[in-house]
C-alpha cells in the first residue's frame, strides 16, 4: 500500500512534497513510474514517516524515480522521516547518492530518525 499527498504545511513555491505510506515493493511500480511527471519545483521532499518496509524492488523503483527527477532538471531531492533500518538500506544501496536526508527543519523532522 502506498499513497502520495502534497502536505500543505510543507508546501512552498519552491518545493514539492510527497508523503509515502506503507510497503514500497513491486506493487508500487505504477506510482513511481508516474511520480517524476508530477514534480514542478527545483526541490522535492519525500516524507517516509509513514512508509514501512522497502524491499530490493522498492529500492530499484526509488533509484529509477530519483534518477529521472534529477535528469529532467536540476532538482534537489530531500528525504525525511527515515527509520534507522531504511537509512541503513539507503546508504548501502546508493539511494543517498541521489537524494540526501533533510536537515532538521522548522517542522522538527530530521532526514534520519
Amino acid at each position: 500500500m502506498y499513497s502520495m499527498t502534497a502536505t500543505p504545511a510543507n508546501l512552498t513555491p519552491e518545493h514539492d512534497c510527497f508523503v509515502l505510506e506503507g510497503t514500497i515493493d513491486a506493487q508500487s511500480e505504477p506510482f513511481f513510474r508516474e511520480l517524476p511527471k508530477k514534480v514542478r519545483h527545483p526541490q522535492v521532499r519525500f516524507d517516509f514517516t509513514r512508509a514501512g518496509r522497502i524491499n530490493s524492488m522498492g529500492i530499484a523503483l526509488l533509484l529509477r524515480c530519483f534518477k529521472e527527477i534529477r535528469q529532467a532538471r536540476e532538482t534537489e531531492i530531500l528525504l525525511e522521516g527515515l527509520s534507522p533500518t531504511n537509512s541503513m538500506l539507503f546508504k548501502m544501496t546508493g539511494v543517498f547518492l541521489l537524494a540526501k536526508p533533510a536537515p532538521a527543519g522548522a517542522n522538527g523532522r530530521e532526514g534520519a530518525k
Partner: protein, 324 residues
C-alpha cells in the same frame, strides 16, 4: 600420528596476535607466518597438503598484498577449502578477486562488544572441515522453538512476515530494529524463492516480480525461523537449486563495488540479505535445493556499514572432495 586438518596463514606476528584468541578453539591448527619466509611457508603447506581440509587466509595477506596466494595455496593443497578472515576494524577485502579465485568463505573477526559471536569461529571451521552445511538450529540455544511454514501461494507472504514479527515481540529500539531487519530479510528471502529461483530450462525466469502465483506441482518453498531471545536465525529452502555459487558471489561483488546508480545491478535482494545478516549462508544442491539463510543478533556489535561474512557451498562438488 594425527594429521592436521586446518592451517592458517598469517602475515606477521602482529597479525597472528590479532587472530590467536579467536582461533584458539580450533583443534590441531597449523599456524604459518608467511612474511618470515614466503617460499618456506608454501613448502610447509605442501608438506601437510594431503591432510588439510581447510586453509585460513588472513586478509592482511590476500587479496591485496599477495593476489596470487589463493591460487598458490590451491596448487599445494588441492583438497582444501579456503576461508578468508578479516578484521571488522579494517577495510573489508574487495570481493572481485574472491570471485575470480572461487573463495566462497569470508568471516570477520567480531568487534569486542560482540563476544558471544566469537563462538562462531570454531563452529564454522568444524563445519568446513567436515563439509557439513550450516543448519538453522546450530546458532540457536538448545530448546528454541523452530517455526517452519510451507508456502502455498505468494499471497501468504505478508502473513509469514507477520508471524516472524510476532515472535520478535519486545520493547525498545533494539527489538524494533530487529523486527524491521527480520521483516526485510523475510521479504527478500521469500521474493527470491518465489520469483528468482523458478527457472525454465533455458535459464529464463518463470514468474514476474510481484505477480500473484501459486506453487507448481512438485515445487516446495519452506520458510523457517527461530529466536532464542538474543539470536534470530532464518532460512529459506526452495526445491529449484538454481542459484550458482559464482553468480551469488558476482551479485555481492557487483552490488558492493559497482556504481549503484549506473544501472540495475541485479541480485540486489541477495546483497541486502547478506548485508543485513550477521552471517550469511547459502547451500546449493544443483537442480534439487537451494537453502539461503543466516543469523543476526539483537545486540549486534557489527557496525551497520561493515560487510558481513558469507559461506557459500555446493553439495555436489563438496561431496567429491570429501575424503573424511
Amino acid at each position: 600420528m594425527h594429521q592436521p586438518k586446518v592451517a592458517v596463514l598469517y602475515r606477521d606476528a602482529k597479525d597472528r596476535e590479532l587472530w590467536e584468541e579467536t582461533l584458539k578453539g580450533v583443534p590441531g591448527l597449523v599456524p604459518i607466518t608467511v612474511e618470515l619466509d614466503f617460499t618456506a611457508s608454501l613448502e610447509r603447506l605442501r608438506h601437510f597438503g594431503g591432510s588439510l581440509r581447510l586453509v585460513i587466509l588472513s586478509a592482511r595477506l590476500y587479496p591485496e598484498r599477495y593476489p596470487e596466494l589463493a591460487a598458490q595455496v590451491r596448487a599445494v593443497c588441492p583438497g582444501s577449502e579456503l576461508l578468508l578472515v578479516s578484521s571488522s576494524e579494517e577495510p573489508p577485502p574487495a570481493l572481485t578477486p574472491l570471485l575470480a579465485d572461487q573463495v566462497r568463505h569470508l568471516a570477520f573477526n567480531p568487534p569486542h562488544e560482540a563476544r558471544r559471536d566469537g563462538e562462531y569461529f570454531p563452529e564454522i571451521v568444524s563445519r568446513l572441515i567436515d563439509r557439513r552445511p550450516w543448519e538453522i538450529c546450530s546458532c540457536l540455544r538448545e530448546g528454541t522453538t523452530l517455526h517452519s511454514f510451507g508456502l502455498r501461494s505468494s499471497e501468504e507472504k505478508e502473513a509469514l512476515i507477520g508471524a516472524l514479527e510476532a515472535v520478535l515481540a519486545g520493547e525498545g529500539d533494539e527489538f524494533e530494529m530487529l523486527r524491521q531487519k527480520g521483516a526485510l530479510l523475510a521479504d527478500e528471502l521469500l521474493e527470491n524463492a518465489l520469483y528468482d529461483a523458478p527457472r525454465a530450462p533455458d535459464g529464463s525466469r518463470l514468474f514476474r516480480k510481484g505477480e500473484k502465483r501459486v506453487m507448481l506441482p512438485q515445487e516446495s518453498i519452506v520458510f523457517s525461523f527461530g529466536f532464542d531471545g538474543e539470536t534470530l536465525a532464518l532460512e529459506l529452502r526452495d526445491s529449484w537449486g538454481s542459484l550458482e555459487p559464482e553468480v551469488v558471489l558476482e551479485h555481492l561483488a557487483r552490488n558492493q563495488e559497482g556504481d549503484p546508480i549506473a544501472g540495475d545491478a541485479g541480485g540486489r535482494g541477495l546483497f541486502i540479505i547478506w548485508r543485513f545478516l550477521d552471517h550469511f549462508h547459502m547451500n546449493v544442491q544443483p537442480g534439487l535445493e537451494t537453502a539461503v539463510g543466516g543469523h543476526l543478533q539483537l545486540s549486534s556489535g557489527h557496525h551497520p556499514e561493515v560487510p558481513r561474512g558469507f559461506h557459500i557451498t555446493e553439495i555436489d562438488k563438496e561431496m567429491q572432495t570429501c575424503t573424511a
